[in-house]
């Protein structure tokens, strides 16, 4: 199950990028290596490479996002693609036929790639399954399921600082239950063979079968980050404070908020990450967020290079397919 074969072509090349589940370590490593190559583009005087020249990328955001959309847009532009930005309110597309109609309309405009964000888990799979075969679909976050480019940019950032994954202890703190970022990180860490992965949260924010995610569960922050090489803080939505999940921001910060003092049990050279935007004083205090161990802004820069890598890989597969058809 969840092999997500739909995202690979018969030769194992990346057609769509929907989830990290089912992708090989070789492919993830290739993606990280390619990201490395694209990092330098940002430092050139002319910040463009022509890999996707003449291609049209549509950013299809059914859920609002500024940062993710912007980094996808920049990534596409650095690859010389033309970019369409569409913000579509979810309420207008509650019905599936409308979502398909939106797709069909864009396909009729000969869009080559959809970058999709949607509030429902499985939305990117749905779109990939129903899109025209020549279109690539990149998941920019679907419900609680997956946010694979975020997962990969986090892996890239970890590799930059720590090198090999096999001896690393990675602690993920916060709302794992609702987090597509956490699911993608956990999937990538499993595939890349991280030494130990931990998740730290009260039981209300831990999925029922956490062992399926390959992580050890902790409920005490100090214990959970002890000897960690990497501490990843997850964003906590304010709406989780209502009802039966959490009593208050105050108590959450008291127990699970990252401070310099609580970080003391981690390895001295531990890095601190956060997918952003940070709720200062909820997930962590500003001293940590802006401190020497924080790599949060590097994550943002790396995000552009990772997205360039993913887009160029999918477009490369499209070109192979087109060439194959021309030969045939």
């Amino acid at each position: 199950m969840t092999t997500s074969a739909v995202q690979l072509d018969a030769e194992g090349n990346l057609r769509h990028f929907l989830t990290l589940d089912g992708l090989s370590r070789t492919l993830l490593t290739e993606m990280l290596d390619r990201t490395e190559g694209f990092l330098s583009v940002a430092r050139q005087a002319v910040k463009k490479v022509p890999l996707c020249r003449g291609k049209i990328v549509a950013n299809l955001f059914f859920e609002t996002s500024t940062r993710t959309r912007t980094t996808f847009e920049l990534a596409a532009k650095r690859l010389s693609a033309d970019v369409l930005n569409l913000n579509i309110s979810t309420s207008a597309t509650a019905k599936g036929e409308t979502l398909l109609d939106t797709l069909r309309n864009l396909e009729a405009m000969h869009v080559d790639m959809f970058v999709v964000r949607h509030a429902d888990s499985g939305a990117a799979h749905f779109i990939a399954a129903h899109a025209d075969p020549h279109v690539a679909v990149i998941n920019a976050g679907d419900g609680r399921h997956s946010h694979p480019t975020q997962g990969m940019l986090d892996m890239f950032t970890i590799r930059q600082h720590k090198g090999d994954f096999t001896h690393l202890c990675v602690a993920i703190v916060g709302d794992v239950l609702h987090s597509r970022v956490a699911r993608s990180e956990l999937s990538a860490l499993r595939t890349l063979g991280a030494g130990e992965v931990r998740i730290i949260a009260p039981r209300t924010l831990i999925p029922v079968h956490a062992e399926a995610l390959g992580a050890r569960v902790f409920h005490d922050l100090r214990e959970g980050v002890r000897d960690a090489d990497v501490v990843i803080m997850l964003r906590l939505q304010r709406e989780r404070m209502r009802g039966a999940l959490l009593p208050s921001e105050h108590e959450y910060f008291q127990l699970f908020g990252l401070t310099e003092e609580r970080l003391a049990t981690a390895k001295p050279d531990a890095i601190v990450m956060h997918p952003g935007p940070i709720n200062r004083g909820v997930e962590m205090d500003s001293q940590v967020a802006d401190g020497p161990r924080s790599v949060i802004l590097e994550q943002v820069s790396n995000g552009i290079a990772v997205r360039m890598a993913v887009m160029s890989m999918c477009i490369g597969t499209q070109n192979l397919r087109a060439a194959g058809q021309a030969d045939g």
């Binding site: 599936g96 888990s121 499985g122 609680r144 079968h209 995610l213």
Partner: protein, 431 residues
Amino acid sequence: MADPARISICNGRLIDPASGVDEELAVHIAGGRVAALGPAPAGFHAERTIDAGGLVVCPGLVDLCARLREPGGEHKASIASETRAAAAAGVTTLCCPPDTSPVIDTPAVAQLITQTAERAGRARVVPAGALTRGLAGEQISEMAALKRAGCAVMSHADAHITNTQVQRGAMEYASTFGLTLFLRPEDHYLRDQGCMHEGRVSTLLGLPGIPEAAETVALARDLALAEQTGARVHFRGLSCARSAAMLAEAQARGLRVSADVSAHQLFLTEDDVGDFDSNCHLRPPVRTRADREALRAAVARGEIAAICSDHQPHEPDAKLAPFPVTEPGISALETLLPLTLGLVGEGVLGLRSAIERLTRGPAGILGLPLGRLEPGSIADICVFDPEEPWVLSPATLVSQGRNTPFLGRGLRGRVHWTLLGGRVVFERGAR
């Protein structure tokens, strides 16, 4: 319509679990009823003889839960289309839950359904009356009037009565008139936004889960109320092992409670959701392999006395969306018998018990004199080949709903004739 003909069904293996018959016996039909078994009565001249050599002849199947979508959901299916599918599936009696639009909470809606079904003439449709007005769970309905209008049982469809006092009153009032309550145990709050079993797969897919406790909490409450009130309660669509154990324990203590399971619950598991297959979006959800095995065992022991289709035909658009916003349910009438026979193939049940769960078991729960084949019985009959292999495809589906995860699957067991009140309502071409 012409009077039903005198028909003889010869050379078949007659299996009637209600009377314990299992032998090669001819069935002779006159006036819509079984005239005799075995040799034809003196002076009986069949106008038509059906050669059932190599086939099983059994009572027409009784399905405790099938949505026909009429009134209110005619874009999905109709009574005419779905009773045609029922006939092709050997199902002669269908109980339809009250969540039509409008809800079956007035005699007029109940009569509309039974009369439309009678005009279509392919299956008996027994409406289940709504326990509360509009299925809102607040005000009990006019159950005596609904009973007079043909509602054999009272149901709350998939809606949960959250107000315990209303649930108690509904049980007491229904039992005043000898009406059985059909309840699908599911705690509204624990289900929340859930759209699949809360477990390993929901954890990986990030889909909101429906915990087992959503069912067991509601079941425990309603078992306690059934015990307090002495009402006859039938629990629809159990989905987990613990529910089956709770049911068996209550039955052992003498409570008048019964239960059914949907056929697909005995085959599918959470793993079948795979990569967000919306045809496996079900309510209740399919759960773990252990749950499936426990439900199979409860069916084998007879604690779960009926297997039903939980037929829910949909238009294609209902399943063409991201998984959580698709509509739950399977178009399931035509897989009811083959899946149940699959249990025979896997050694879970004997053929007679399998037929019993589809005939005498559900008929008894409905309290109707159906699901049996003895002289004098209403001649609702299913004639099927228990071994015939076939593949379910959009082309073979008779139902207007094409939404089923069993498309493309090899099935075993196929209906060849269906008789309703002595009339042939389905006939497959040459064997």
